[in-house]
Subunit: 490 residues, 2 copies
């Protein structure tokens, strides 16, 4: 046995245990009886303790010291193991466990606070969460930028300065486009009516299959917040149904299928190794967003969906496929990020990015957060926030300590823009099948050029290799302007 193979044997077990912990998370959101939370918390703590002990095992350091990679894949696995090991060692076990325990409590408190529109009830635990994450960032940053240290968990290889520059370039064109859209004399119709749960559910499965979701190693269940969970041979997604808004179900399903297809599409040889899962949140989001938006909300696919929905639900009171396409892509002022249209979505992310950088830097106090949010929201969106659930309490992220995560959503959109441009050039007939609800020309290209690599390359390298150029916001913004100028007849 070599040091590499010893290390990988140990690592495979860790990956397998981590997959189990992930599946417990899935179970908790989909299957767990409501009275089981107390015992479940103890079960989760037990497996997390096992994982933490393995991830800080000094044997890893010894193996890393003498392992000699014999291939690109081995080098990538070693790189990923080393990064994780060094990161884990920097954070004292006491702090890691405190973060786990406080954020687990905080999520419930946030949910109650949101339900009761009571920011004050959330502030004490949020203050704790922030202090703990700041402490962690200090341990990780070794004198460097605290926010960057956190960001690195979700998108290795980028920095808050680079993202700030990117956002500065994106904002003016997005705002200009949004203003033209809102000022347009032509406004798309809105889909209205009641759409039976059962039919939506059946159609969600059909959509998932259209986009290549492999149900032999996946399944679709209900959850309050849709998500994708797992890697390799067991990747499950969830959806939700609102009978007055079928697009919510359909597009969140396609979005999660994008995430799931990425995990399912990684080369089988990487199963239960560090390379065997998506390389970063940004690249992950590039898959979910290109499936959802460039493909799923495109003219070709919506044409097919229009026919499917007429068949399933009868008359939709939408004049034709063009009007349906416009309805799917309708832009309107709204408070909620997850419901935002493609044009405004990134503006939501920018707001959070600026606020959370200020929080982590200590420049914005938790007690001032709600006011800062509301001021900024009104400045950016022209809407006064009417209640905390439409404002600072809308997202779960900060309650669970996810500072540094939000910008990866916009990076994903930017990456999706680059990939879409390359796809169109590499696969001239990419759109043909979509007219018949078959996305395979596009999804096969994405599988070959992005998904199958898993964590083999650094995030920015994956996108660069696939799109043939360094990531840039230009393709996304060009795409958005062309699409919405056409829809809104600008």
């Amino acid at each position: 046995m070599t040091a590499y193979s010893d290390l990988m044997a140990f690592q495979r077990q860790t990956e397998a245990l981590s997959a189990i912990a992930g599946r417990l998370g899935w179970d908790q959101e989909t299957m767990m009886p409501r009275g089981s939370a107390g015992q479940r918390a103890e079960e989760m703590a037990a497996i997390e303790a096992v994982l933490h002990a393995r991830r800080t095992d000094p044997k890893i350091g010894d193996w890393l010291g003498s392992a000699d990679p014999a291939s690109e894949i081995e080098a990538a696995n070693l790189r990923l193991i080393r990064r994780r090991y060094e990161r884990t060692l920097k954070v004292p076990a006491r702090l890691a466990s405190e973060i786990a325990s406080v954020t687990s409590r905080a999520q419930g408190i946030w949910a109650d606070a949101r339900a009761n529109e009571d920011v004050a009830a959330f502030l004490p635990i949020l203050t704790e969460v922030i202090a703990l994450r700041q402490e962690e960032a200090q341990a990780l940053a070794a004198g460097g930028n605290l926010y960057d240290a956190l960001l690195d968990d979700y998108e290795p290889g980028t920095s808050s300065a680079a993202i700030a520059d990117l956002f500065d370039r994106m904002r003016p064109r997005l705002v200009a486009l949004r203003d033209r859209i809102f000022g347009a004399s032509h406004q798309p119709a809105r889909l209205e009516g009641k759409f039976a749960d059962k039919i939506q559910t059946e159609m969600a499965t059909k959509l998932a299959l259209s986009f290549g979701y492999d149900m032999s190693i996946g399944r679709i269940d209900r959850a309050v917040h849709p998500f994708s969970s797992g890697s390799g041979q067991d990747v499950r997604i969830t959806t939700r149904v609102n009978e007055s808004d079928p697009f919510n179900c359909f597009y969140s399903t396609i979005h999660e299928v994008g995430h799931a297809a990425y995990e399912q599409g990684i080369d089988d040889q990487h199963i239960l190794t560090p390379v065997g899962c998506g390389v970063s949140m940004g690249v992950h989001e590039s898959q979910s967003r290109i499936y959802e938006n460039q493909l799923g909300r495109g003219r070709a696919f919506t044409g097919w969906l229009h026919g499917q929905m007429q068949e399933a639900f009868g008359n939709l009171n939408i004049t034709d496929a063009d009007a349906f396409y416009a309805a799917v892509n309708r832009c309107s002022p709204s408070y909620i990020r997850t419901e935002a249209d493609e044009v405004q979505y990134n503006l939501h992310v920018m707001l959070r990015f600026d606020l959370e950088r200020a929080i982590i830097a200590g420049d914005l106090k938790p007690t001032d957060l709600e006011a800062a949010w509301n001021d900024r929201f009104e400045a950016d969106f022209g809407l006064a926030v009417d209640k905390p659930s439409n404002g600072v309490l809308q997202d779960v992220h900060w309650s669970v300590g996810l500072f540094g995560y939000f910008p990866t959503y916009s990076l994903g959109n930017v990456y999706a823009g680059c990939l879409f441009e390359a796809l169109k050039s590499d696969v001239p007939d990419w759109e043909d099948g979509l007219h018949d609800g078959d996305a395979s020309a596009a999804t096969n290209w994405l599988r070959t050029n992005v998904q199958k690599h898993g964590g083999l390359y650094e995030p920015v390298d994956v996108i660069t290799k696939a799109s043939g150029q360094s990531p840039s916001e230009e393709p996304l913004l060009d795409y958005l302007e062309a699409k919405f100028e056409s829809i809104y007849r600008l």
Copy 2:
């Protein structure tokens, strides 16, 4: 910290990890996509390796050496930990892992062999399984009886000699009763028709609630073979539906609710401790069988069920509630243990008990097993086995190495007989609620006298305390004779 509290902190984590492994098993039978088996096997192996390392951790020996129990509960936990620790240490890790791996393979080979009616295809791996379990029994028995060493895993405190004596006493009365039943001029009607899946499923949930299954810490799903899984605050059951035989669904549901109610009924203070789960397979089966048979197949409850079924399914072509009661309890010659009536069920167990004792002793070779089974079956049941799936291949047990398990089914019946006698004497109005589908008078008594204790007492002591006398077959046989003499007008 005392040695006891240190030990228990360690043990709680082990119990929590073991609960996770159990829930993965549930997932595998109910939710797992069919293509996920390969990865899942590696996940299961990883958590089993973690569990094995914890269960053989020398720290346990140190703690056991110095822990001083301060209460009956602490003494019971120490007793259970010591028993498990000593057992685990006796079996070499190599052997334990080989058993896990071979039995996991063998289960699939058995399922295929059964589907193809091909005993020969099963024999090689069965021979391996037997050899491994014999080796394990030798390690455990230290010169004593090999079969008893295996039996001890499932029913501590009994012996094959005691069980053989018990069965010798039971057999003549069971056979005599069976012969009188089959010779009776009055034979009950049989329920016939098609019973919609959806209605059966809804009724199964209603039945589960009738018998006190707590859905806030449980759930009901489908599986090929019904089972109950989990302890404490998360105890899930499964059921199956055959549209031409609703009693299959209903009574397997009530049976599994008996198992689940036991686990749910254990005092909350014992959650995630060794005392916090059912004490033995025999006591477990006493709960499932008393729920299913003495309560569920009794005259009072079947009267209510008759009305419910008429309401749900319309005319059943059964003249009245007495005829329905007789139909539920109809006895007929049959090959399959799990479908056997109350009278013949134990005769099935006796056949397996004798064969598996001979196998483990080395007196019966795997190659002779099918012939031995068929000869014995015809002698005991007067039926020639027509195909292996109706004979030696019908049960999964031997493929997964469960030698010594079968007799606990009959012990469960014997215990249920004792408990039922005590219940009737302690709770004179036990039957009143059952006329209205409410089993709580009986299930509350069982909870208080059996279930809440979990593993606090040895199996035979649980039954003795609850029933006020040492376990004996007399109450069961008296009950069976009275019940079937009445039904068959003997």
